[in-house]
Amino acid sequence: MKITTILLLFCITSHLEAQRIQPITIDELNERTHNGPDTTYIINFWATWCKPCVKELPNFLSFDSAYIGGKVKVLLVSVDFSTEVNRKLIPFIKKLNFKKETYIIADKNQQEYIVKVDTAWSGAIPATLFIKGNKRKLVEQSLTYDELLQYYKNIQ
């Protein structure tokens, strides 16, 4: 009985692990990406309603250190409205079985947080930020897997 309960709990928690979504501010995100100068951080800004974002998501979900041969962390930051989290975002993440760090933007002031990400960003999505040490590159377009790989290589 106990083992079944433990197994069940384990199943539930590991299942939740894949779908947990945390609010994050850009300041916290910048903190997060300061860790480990040998890691390349790829931060994708997206939303469930944005068709080109949804189309390119599988490329980010499958972009992994195991295949690249370098240390890479993919962070998915949703800019969905807070009112859409339970209704749209969580079911979506569940359906696609996200295994990457998944966040929702917690900053209220859009004009402010956009500049903190990159002064060149118009605020439109999809947008992807590549960070390696002190190097940052914002790409304001949809990316194929090959393009993603190329930007990753360029920032090394």
Binding site: F81, T83, K108, N109, Q111, S122, G123, A124
Partner: protein, 201 residues
Amino acid sequence: MKIILALLLIAFCFGAKSQTTTLAPGTTAPQIKLKNIDGKAVSLSDYPSAKGFIIAFICNTCPYSKAYEQRIIALNKKYTTLGFPLIAINPNDPEAFGGDSFEDMKAYSKAKGFTFPYLYDDGQAITAAYGAKSTPHIFILSKTGNSFIIEYTGAIDNDTPGDDPAKIKYAEDAINAVLDKKKPTVAVTRAIGCRVKWKRS
């Protein structure tokens, strides 16, 4: 021959540029004459008593634009009586994405209860002339002599979801400044929203 080529190249460069550069405050606003959803043409000169305008590039399909609809209706209500009526323009190419055709606009305006003209920018010439980048993208115009000057361009406020009581209402602040015969403190913000859907070449 070389000169012609060079001129063509310059024309091309400026042509391309007009689609990406937003007109800055202080610039003369290009004249607008476009077909409204009722089939009649609307232009700035149809409003002889207007002190200025709120030009709002919006569409039927973008969640950011939709999030602002009630605020846009409220802006029109509040500022029409103060001499700043609102004119909405759909900047999207109807083929590029779907849902933004002239017929779609008619149905949408009716369903949402738009109380202002909703103009169809056939060929996207006005969108390019203003350099509208997103939906929603706002331009505040003020009357100077016989022409109109751009006073403010960008977002309506800094809170698309609309749930932050501390939001900064850039568009209202700009009109209020102009009504006070002042220049807006903040004249440019980022027009956060969905990119304008240009005709695929």
